[in-house]
Amino acid sequence: MQLNINGKTVVAEPGDTVYQAAKKAGISIPSLCVSHHLAPFGSCRLCVCEIDGQSGTPASCTTPVRPDMVVQTESDRLRRHRHNIVELYMSEQPEGSEMSGPLRELRLACGVDRVRYPDGARSKRASVRDDSNPFFTFDNAACISCARCVRACDEIQGTHALTMFGRGFEARPSAGPYQPSARGFADSNCVSCGACVKECPTGALTENTVLEQGVPTRTVRTTCAYCGVGCAFDAGVRDGRVVQMLPSDDGPSNRGQACMKGRFGWTYNDAPDRLSVPLLRRGNDWEEISWESALDLVAQEFTRIKGAFGQDALATISSSRGTNEENYLFAKFMRCVIGTNHIDNCARVCHSATVTGMMETLGASAATNSLQDLDVAQLIMVVGANPTESHPVVGARIKQAHRRGVPLIVIDPRRTELARLADLHLQLRPGSNVALLNAMGHVLVKEGLLDQAFISARTEGIEDWIKTVSDCTPESAEAITGVPAHLIGQAARLYGSSRASYCCHGLGVTEHRWGSHGVIALCNLALATGNIGNPGTGINPLRGQNNVQGASDMGCLPTYFAGYQRLDDPKLATLHQTVTGRPLPAKRGMKTPDMWDAAIAGRLKGLWIIGYDVAQTDPNLKKVHEALKRVEFLVVQDLFLCETAKFAHLVLPGASFLEKDGTFTNLERRIQRIRKAVEPPHGILPDWRVVCEVSNRMGYPMPYQHPSEIMDEIATLTPMCAGVSYDRLDQHEGLQWPVPTAGHEGTALMHQETFPKGKAQFVAVEYLPPGEAASKEYPFVLTTGRILQHYNCGAQTRRTDILELVDTDVLEMHPDDMEGLHLRDGEVVRLVSARGEALLPVVGSERVLPGHLFTSFHFPASTVNALLSSSADDSSKCPEYKVSAVRVEPIEREELDPEDEAELRHMRARLIT
């Protein structure tokens, strides 16, 4: 479509506004309230224009383009109106208040040298300041009441924590509560995503780090290092320090969005107790030693152990928090220098069941689709995942889709935020996924909702599956799951008939005694309805850590080489020998739990753990601690002296993601760059340099100068990454594997034509009960998982101002159970399982059903994982974190101080609303 703006012919899309069309054509129109992230609004009225044949001066930001319209954005009349509007803005700013950059520029541009309304005789903006949020501050003096912040909270984040308050001249943004005593943001349901701060055009909302340390002088594009969404950020740097993390508008997975942790939870980087030098254990003390001697020591000890006990006495657990290059090198080190496959990573305790389950059915173990598919999905089904807390940017996108009218099914024993919004919430008993999913299959078969064309062309083994699900009636599933049969039927019908059903799942599927069966059951449903290989569909595991996908991709697995290549593949063996000069060990290595057994049995002598706090986050802590104690030489490499480091003989400090170059692979298989924004303190070596140094010392030189060279090697050895290089990553918004050639643009949507094995495989699975059930002695089922504010072992988030918001794990219990046990909010209780016990404050929460308990595991003090057993999924060894039988005992009621009480009450309100 063509139109004419200021005499210039401009091309626009139908649906564009005049403002957008002008902007595309490089014509800038003065504006304050418009944002391309938000729906047209039209508040400031600076963007007025003149349109031939239309009376008046409409706002260009709310006027849609029409073919051949003739627009003027500059004229004496328009300039005068803009002058008058800017003058009005200036007239309400309190005396002495500093005008923000954009407003100051507008004032110059519009030539407002004086305000004609006499001072003193005019009302000003009320002096309202809200500094209750730990991360940012609102100052009404600088505000122009444009509501961009409110709209951001509604439209982008979907939290509705902000409102315009009052009307007319008084109208101003405000966070929630009405009571004068309320603290504003802190007492609201704000999730500190920072969207409002980013949208604010005037600086009325500003990050505290910027207020305190100044605006950044340069920015570095990088990727968030918390969760698997992989949000792109521009790290703002000033005087060698990061002062701001701003989500990038062109970030492919986040499009300018972020969550509390990525946006504000990076200040651990400057934490005073960051490890700075290698520490050597001397009895109960640490001795600071030089890097030289630390690296020598690792090389010496590993050489000694290998010599004395053989290669099988050494193992490494690599970090899903580190880069692809680092993970590749650790695996290479184990295979080429030590000569074993004893390497694993944190995916073991996380989505290993997904890997197994998807490999068996689809033949590839990563999200089949991309996050952008949420824009085209006709139905979204969230199974055992809590994205608004665990993957908040995905959570917000799902909420946006739901607001657009896309139906939402949530399968979760808890009433999570998405469950509350959902059209259907199937609140099943923990551990009963297979029963429920098979019953959905039953309905699909019975009601003829199968995609026969897809099934016959692209799958095998449907008969077995049909046979299995034919017994799984919704009624029988109701008895197992507790979900009313008719809801199961409804869910099946919605899922089977939407034409594009997007399924994403999380740990509620994998971390079970039969976790891979749960994943398989999901894949069966997708295959049966043809919801694979098409936009807006798929099986999409919400992978957890920033690079848990990458750590497995890079071969930090005892059973696969990089790119999930078989260890016994002769072609690979040859190539490996050529490229690395060493043979590829073919014997499968130990999985993490096997390592604990081996250590306790005295077979494992030397262990290297990088960025993984097993002593806090693995299950059955008593056993893990025992194993760690038995190892002769334990090296732990971390940013902090985490719980695991406390067992180490040698602790090596790590460089954080802000201090190194490399790549992460996010939950949609997208390989993205991280870039060094600041120097690591005290000359800390990044993890990849540490491997190189140790390897050099052990007689196998690793002469890499830069991670890009490591990536080049990965590309030669790994067909699915063959086309990846830093040059390409710098030009693209990352690359989604498979990228088979240098000319290949990456794969946003997998399995379009064929599956890796040709056809996909139905695998019939039957419901089997969890490892443990509630009993008389242990009447509650405990599920563990995460909360928004903290991250896994908490080593990082506990070292930020997030601690002001949440400073303890809490036990969520249904109010009826609270009453039954005569418990009050905030009371500390003892949780007892057959393995151990833990102390936690309890809060009443309607997120859980009676008989069900939930807690997080982010604080070492609560020793939650001491309660858990070693029970795990058979094939993947993914631990059963989601089902433990426990009892709850009241303890001597130590007086909680009133502040804590208030905090807990507040927490309760937040949990419920």
Partner: protein, 495 residues
Amino acid sequence: MVRLYLANDTSSCAAGAGRLADAWCERPEIQLIRTSSRGAFFLEPMVERDTPNGRETWFNVAPDDLPRIVAGVGGTPVAEIPFLQQQTRFTFVNFGITEPLAIDEYQTGGGLKGLAAAQGLSPEAIVEELRISRLRGRGGAAFPVWKKWQVAQQVGAEQKYVVANADEGDAGTYCDRMIMEGDPFRLIEGMLICARAIGATRGYIYCRYEYPAAAQTMRFAIQKAREADLLDCDDSPFDLEVVVGAGSYVCGEETALLESLEGRRGVVLAKPPYPAESGLYGKPTIVSNVLTFATIPNILAEGGAWHASLGTEGSCGTMALQLGGRVKQPGLVEVPFGLTLRDVLDRFGGGMAPGSRFKAVQVGGPLGSLFPESQLDIPICYDAFAKAGAILGHGGIVVYDDETNMVELARHFMAFTADESCGKCTPCRIGSVRGREILERIQRGQGTAEDLALLSDLGETMKATSLCALGGRAPYPVLTAIEHFPNEFRRCQKV
């Protein structure tokens, strides 16, 4: 026993009808029928009784007038009241005659004929009838009704809505209240016709908080209509509900109204999308004024051409003018478009209230322009008003006498805008407060010539850039006050 008729609407009661009813309720010699009001409020409380020659009436009745009335002494035939005689009553034909909630009376008087006609027509044909009728919306913007309906009809959606705008925020207007209190089935019938034309299954009447009696009458009427099986549209039930506002003038603006109807802050939204494409809950929605809906049954019953034959070229049909302020005979006047303002004031208003002299008249509510004596020959018609930079609005006509202080009045107007501004757009949110402050300064005797210039400069920016007509029209009454009565403003200036 004598049957007496006494109006039961808010204004008649405020004028004393309520007191009469209280006083007479136990009297065995009479049967009191509570009707709607004729709209000749200067005569209320009016008591009527049947005679062989039609109704006879007693004006401004006090409780002890009863014996006189029962005796039939001193009554005036209704047909001889000039105020009523000179009107052309179509929409208000039942007023003063029927009981508001008597559905059978409504039907006997010709009600439901429009609906029946509509039921015999295709939705397209209904819209076509409206196109022929050239009916324009009576809520203020005077937009052709058929165009909106056609849009809503053509947008595909599983749910559509019909909303009656009963916010009647303009001071000086009360015809919507009269319709809801006095002839509620007419509104329902109009809405049903609309529902049928666009395919809506749900309707709302958004009634301002200040009209509790109207809301209550509507609720009863809806109940009765439902019981009479009237409330269905193409065999599916038509859900109709009264929703009450909470004191915000801007909520009369259609987008703000829909926001408020959804329970949110009644803030104006930028258009497009227009409600007819995407309104309530994002669905196609017709928002029309109560009077607009009430006009429609007759159009369907008598045909669009009949309606188009009334009034002037650009303004067809009749208009319900509502006289108020210092006129001698305030009340409702339904006449075809085209009379001059002077005619209306003289013939119906009867001149000024005793003891007062004319100073100015405001047409179209608080955003309407002021007319001095010299400009009264303007015809009552949308286009003539538009040409004069004025608005007919919802037909409110308020006359000010010479005791009115124009500076205070101008300040009052700006203060109204400042109070009622939704606060969304800058020119209105800040501008109205600055405007008020300037006028306050002038009022205090501290104004300067520059202030008047500033006021007009600010006014131009408000007119041109405000998002809705509240900010956009607010300068008109103020600037016309300055234009026509410059001396009063000059007198107040600092020397």
